[in-house]
Every structure is written in structure tokens, then in C-alpha cells.
């Protein structure tokens, strides 16, 4: 029993060490430093920025995008891309609405339905990519539009409100931390992002699935010729990514107290941007969940800070674009050196 425990400790220690000191450490550090500089900069520029309310707002805004970016991280490390994460999120939210509001099932069933739906949709993308050899870009572009359309069809293009299940919006909006530390009413959505990120990071570092995610992204053919059923694992990876999109769907539905069928498109680009800013290579084989989380925060801090400084929305988009290019350029420079 005691040996079991020490082994478990060893796993978590090892993954922690790996997370801190792996080859992407330099990029991580750079991203983290940029985040600190941004926060400090906005803090100096505007006294409102560092207000607790505003910081909590930033955390809140990052929750959904962060979870979606984690979902994208897995796929991008395999060397693929998933354009459907945004509309899949919405589709899962709509499914939750159908189960809870239309059909009156209890919350647990609605949550399970949304997660299973996410996994199935992800598996479908994975099947198209692995078995039918449709390029990931096209397969998920198709899924993106297909799911967007289905969301609108199922909901009759109208939002589905969770009026019959008042406990549902509480999931994301209430604050467990606020009960413990009344001065910090951080909503549960942020807590869920944190849990998802830690779990995703451990899976990536310490499980067979994580090992295959990196291996597929590094050299898929060598992995296939080692007797690994690469098709199966690709489908699994897209399914897991889809289930994480389901979590994002539940988060956004809970926060808005409704499933908004028209929402979702565009989220995938923010997710990809966060992943890339966090140092994950678009050509596959390298990346960390921690980096993705930092990347997500960089994007929301930028958006929030620029808005507080009354910079026009159009210019916020321009700045985000520049940041993405700089992040990728920094990564290329770093790799050239080694």
C-alpha cells in the first residue's frame, strides 16, 4: 500500500518536473514573462485594470476559451488541426438544453449527454481523418459547418433557456472559492478550467494516450510501423478533444443560462491562437497544456486591457494578430538556435 502511494507520488513529481523543464521550457518562460509584462503594463496604464472585479472578469472570460484551447492542444500536438471546436461547443450546449429543457431530464443526464455528444462528434472527425483519410483541415471544416447548422436546426434558431433547471446555471456561476475566501468570489467556471487543465496535463505527460499524442505528431508512419493501431488512437484523441469541447459547451451554457445556437464560430481561432502563443508547434510533436493556458490568458488580458484603455475593438483584433505572429516567430528563432 505504502509503495503504491510512493509510486503515485513519483508519477506526479515526474510530470511536474517534466512540465517545468522539458524542451519547450524556454517558450513557456517567454510566454509567462509576456503575460506578466502585459498585466503590469495595463496595471500601470489604468488603475481600473488591477481591480479585483476586473481580474475576476478576466478569469471568467478565459474559462470557456481556455477549455477549448486545451481541447485543441491535443489535436495540434498530433500534427492535426480542429476547426470544429467552437461550433461543437455550441452543439453540446444545445444538446444539454434539449435534454434538460425540452425533455426534462435531471442535470446529471444532461451533462452526460453533452459530454458523450462531444466525444461522438470528435470521434466522427477522427474517423474521417484516420479511416477515410480526409485532411484534418477539411474534415473539421466540414464538421464545423455541419454542427453549426445542426445546432440551429435542433433549436429552431432560438436560444434554449434553462428555466426549469435553476441549479444548472449555478454550476459555472456560483463560487466555491467565494465560500471559503469571501473576498475572492472566483466563479466555478475558472475552477473547472483549472481542473480540466491539470487533468489534461497529467494525461499528456503520464499516460499511454499522451505518449501516443506526441509520437503521432513526431512521426506517424514510424508509430504505425511499430505495430501501433494509429487509426484507433487518432479517433480516441479526437474523441477526447471533443469531450473537452463538451465541457466548454456546458460551461458557456451554464454561464449564459442558455444555449445560444448562433454562437461558437470564431472560438476555434482564439483556441488555436492560444495554443500557438503557448509554444505548441503547429507541425506537431511538441507542446504543453500549461503553455496553452498561459496563451489563453494572454489573449483575454489583451482584450480586457485594451478595452479598459478604450482602444477600439477593431484595433484589439489587429494587436492579437501581431501577437500571434510574434509568438510563432519567437518559437522559430528559439528552435533555430538549438
Amino acid at each position: 500500500m505504502s509503495t503504491d502511494l510512493s509510486q503515485t507520488n513519483d508519477v506526479s513529481l515526474r510530470s511536474l518536473r517534466a512540465a517545468l523543464f522539458d524542451s519547450a521550457a524556454g517558450q513557456l518562460l517567454l510566454a509567462f514573462a509576456s503575460l506578466i509584462v502585459l498585466v503590469a503594463g495595463f496595471g500601470i496604464a489604468s488603475p481600473n485594470f488591477l481591480q479585483t472585479d476586473n481580474l475576476i472578469g478576466i478569469l471568467q472570460a478565459t474559462a470557456v476559451n481556455g477549455v477549448l484551447a486545451v481541447a485543441s492542444t491535443y489535436v495540434i500536438i498530433t500534427g492535426g488541426i480542429d476547426l470544429s471546436v467552437g461550433t461543437l461547443m455550441t452543439f453540446c450546449a444545445v444538446i444539454a438544453g434539449v435534454f434538460l429543457t425540452y425533455w426534462g431530464y435531471p442535470i446529471g443526464v444532461g451533462v452526460a449527454a453533452a459530454l458523450i455528444c462531444g466525444a461522438l462528434c470528435g470521434a466522427t472527425s477522427g474517423f474521417l481523418i484516420a479511416k477515410m483519410e480526409v485532411p484534418p483541415f477539411i474534415a473539421t471544416l466540414g464538421m464545423m459547418m455541419l454542427l453549426k447548422g445542426l445546432s440551429l436546426v435542433i433549436s429552431g434558431t432560438k436560444p434554449i433557456y434553462f428555466n426549469d433547471t435553476p441549479d444548472f446555471p449555478v454550476i459555472a456561476q456560483d463560487s466555491l472559492i467565494g465560500y471559503l475566501v469571501p473576498s475572492l468570489p472566483i466563479p466555478n467556471a475558472v475552477l473547472i478550467l483549472f481542473v480540466v487543465a491539470v487533468a489534461a496535463s497529467v494525461v499528456l505527460r503520464s499516460t499511454v494516450l499522451g505518449r501516443y499524442i506526441f509520437a503521432l505528431g513526431s512521426n506517424e508512419e514510424a508509430v504505425r510501423l511499430s505495430g501501433v493501431d494509429t487509426d484507433f488512437w487518432k479517433i480516441v484523441i479526437y474523441a477526447v478533444s471533443g469531450a473537452i469541447c463538451g465541457i466548454a459547451g456546458l460551461l458557456i451554457a451554464s454561464r449564459l443560462n442558455s444555449a445560444q445556437p448562433a454562437l461558437g464560430q470564431g472560438y476555434e481561432l482564439d483556441a488555436i491562437a492560444a495554443v500557438v502563443i503557448g509554444g505548441t508547434s503547429l507541425s506537431g510533436g511538441r507542446g504543453t497544456v500549461l503553455g496553452t493556458i498561459i496563451g489563453s490568458f494572454i489573449i483575454s488580458v489583451l482584450t480586457n486591457g485594451l478595452r479598459i484603455l478604450s482602444v477600439a475593438q477593431e484595433w484589439q483584433t489587429v494587436v492579437t494578430g501581431v501577437i500571434i505572429i510574434l509568438a510563432v516567430y519567437a518559437d522559430i528563432m528559439r528552435r533555430r538556435k538549438t
Binding site: 499516460t207 499522451g210 509520437a215 508509430v223 510501423l225 511499430s226 505495430g227
Partner: protein
Amino acid sequence: MTALIEVRNLDKSFPGVKALRSASFTLEAGEVHALMGENGAGKSTLMKMLAGIYSWDSGEVLVDGAPVTIAGPKAAQALGIGIIHQELNLMNHLTAAQNIFIGREPRRRFGFLDEGKLNFDAAALFRRMNVTIDPKTLVGDLTVAKQQIVEIAKALSFHSRVLIMDEPTAALNTAEIDDLFVIIRDLKAHGVGIVYISHKMDELKRIADRVTVMRDGETIATLPAQSTPVETIISLMVGRELAHAEPPKVPEIQGDEALRVVGLSRGRALRDISFSVRRGEILGFAGLMGAGRTEVARAVFGADPIDTGEIWVRGAKLKIHSPADAVRAGIAYLSEDRKRFGLVTAMDVEANISLASVMRHRRAWGFLDFPSLKALAARYVKSLTIKTPSTAQVAKLLSGGNQQKLVIAKWLARDSDILFFDEPTRGIDVGAKAEIYKLLQSLADQGRAIIMISSELPEILRMSHRILVMCEGRISGELTAAEATQETIMKLATRTHVATGTARGGAHGDEHGPVANE
């Protein structure tokens, strides 16, 4: 007479490595100067300096007796130095002529391209080299040998007086090598100095005038190529006398049948391939490049589909649809292209060794059993003497020989006992080759069945208990170790189907489509 190029005491350091130590070397006009040495000896570094790809730290380079600096590839071209890399740098979707004059296309007024002059100039180059290539052919449609000629023509188009060739015959068959040598002799006669980097001793004897041996970044000696015995050159390369103990050959292996293949066919690539291999046996697969040996291995391994054929493993008929099926049956395939098909080079030694067996080292919920994985990797690093600072070293930083051992470890960790080795010593230096041979022998002694595909006849003759020879997708003959010689193998390797049919007293292969080589 002043040397075309004289290199004096060049030093070059890369972070953590001293790549060249006081390297010296001269190239005369009209000579073929071979540069030999194990991988990592500094041959490529030295040549990349002459080609302007690297700069040197200290020392000097004289061209026609005058000291020069070579700031970049353009400067090298201006000095008349051309290099042909092992991996060709051509654009497959452009024509031969467009490739040769890329960046220097003849123009008409207003910047319009003069395609006519382009093709005319390219044709003139080919004529000068006595080769027939249509300048308008897409490079992607040419054979590797012809592509190489395009590269040479490109180098000559810069009026190169020095041509550096890095393992130019690595991808060529015997006939193509002969053609290449004709071109080299012709260039030589026109006063071009040629630096020839190769691992193949027989080529050295056929083409080189002088040979310079490099080891650990130093130029050890320059010797006349014809009169120096091969053993002397090899011992200079490895820095020690090579043990020439031939492994005792058992005339016939009596082990149980491990693998039987019956009537394996696919289109024109594989025609009615049947063979079997016993436990403890090393079965050599000889033949020219493109004879279908790799295709046989990949088909049995499930990497490529087959039309018809049966595969029996340990007496049981199996359906193999994918590499996963084959691996489950204990079959392994070690490709000649380790980096593409064998290793995940961006990952560490441990991940590579456990790539095929990671599922056996997991705990509940798919968590990796790190202590067990580490122990596994450490065990094979030790037993195969893989030279690596740690099991956390990234695979791409290992030498070719150690990468090959890594792939072997991957399969041993999976308990594979039928192993296809495709050119097991390609790109591996002389010292490490002997180690790989010993390893193959010991794997067979442990009762594994080894199928070794090799284009190097001495290797086939030295290692195999039995030899199958392939030609044009068929097995054209089988030889015991006793009756096999380079001559008998070559005869079978060049024997086309018509001859095979009569030699076997029947034409049983005819139902498999039109006869090749018509």
C-alpha cells in the same frame, strides 16, 4: 604545379564539439580524391566549408595558390566549387532545365523568361556530359540516377573546376554507378578536380586516384588509392585493426519453421513470392535495387496490401492486414530509412525503445509505469551497448549505428522473433557495422529468425546461412552459403523471368500477368 585547392590546418568547433582539428588536404586538377572516414569524422564539415555553408575558425584555404575566404554558397560558386549533396536539392515539379538554371533564368525584354534559350543551354550541358536527358522532362519523372546527373549539370553550369560529391552512389544500382563513373572520368579528363566522399571500398578502388582518411576531425593520412590495401585504409579509419573473424557458418539450420510465405503477389511489384525461414536462421535477400526485396518485407509486415498469398507463422496460417497484426504475430520490420520509418527522432531513447511495447508498461487507467519503462530502456542500452549519455537523450542526436541499435531494441522489447532487416548497415560507419553483424548473429543464435535484405554482397555472403536472390519482383534463385559467391548471386540478380522459367523447367509464374522485361 599549384594545387587547385589547398586546405591548411583548418579548425572548426560547434557548441560542445570540436568538428575539425587542424585538417589539411589538397586537391589537384584532374584528380578524383576520395575522402573516407566513419560517420562524424568531419568529412562533411570540411566539405561544407569549401562549399561556403560553414565558416572555419582558424587555418587557411588556398585556391590556385591564393588565400581565399568563402563567405557563402555564392562565393563558392564564384571560385568554381560545386557540391552535390547526398540528398538532392531539386524541385520535382520543375523541368530539368528549369532546375539547372534556377535563379539565373535567361530573360527577354521586360523580364519575360526565355524558355527556348533555357532548354538550349541545358541540352548543351547534357551533350557535353554525353548523357541523353530531355531538358523539358519534369525532374520528378526522372530516376534518382538521372536526377543526380541534373545536379552535376547544374554544378558544371557554374563552370565548376571543383566538384564535391557526397556519397553519390548511395541510391544507385550497379549499371547507374557505371554510368556515373563514365561521367566522372570524363570530367577528370577535362581537368575538373573531384572530391569523392564514400563508404564503399570497391568504388574507391575503381575511381579514386588518392584517398585522404579522416578520423575524429583530423586528416590522418593521404595515400595513393590504387596501391594501398583496403585493410590499411579501414584500420586508419577506425584507428585499430579490424578483427576479420568470419562467423562460423552452419551449413543448414535445423530449427523449426518460423515463417512461411506462399505465392505472395501484388501487381507487377511482387510475383509469386514463396519462401520460408527457420528459427536460428539468417536468410539473405540479395538483388539489385528495385528488385522487390523491400516490397516483400513490407507486404509480409502488413505495411502494404497484397493481392494474393498466404503467410504462415510458426505453422499457423495468419491474416495480416496491418503492421499491428504482424507485430502481434512477432514479426518486426527494420527499414533502411530508420529516421522516417523506424524512429521518432524528436523523442528520447526511452520513448523509442518502448514505442512498440509501451502498452505492456502501463498501470491502471493507462498511466505509464515510468520506473518500469526506465528499467527497460536502461537494460537495452546496456545489453546492446547503445552509446548515449542517458535514456532521456533525444534520438536524433545519436549516431547512425546507435540509432539502428535503438530500432533493434524497440523490437526486442516487444519480443519479436521474426525480424526483417532492410539494409541493416546502410549509413553506418565501419566500426559500428561489425557490431551490428555480431548483434544479428547473436539474435539468430537465440533462436530468432532473421531475414536480411542487403545490396552489399560481401555482407550477404558473410552473414547468411541461405540466400534468396530477387529480380524484377520474383525470386530468381536460391543458394546455400556454400555455393554462393558474388558471381553466382549477380548472375541470378540480373536473370530476367524468361531465363528463370527455363531454368526451373517450367513456366508456372505465367498466370501472374505479362512477362517482365519484354
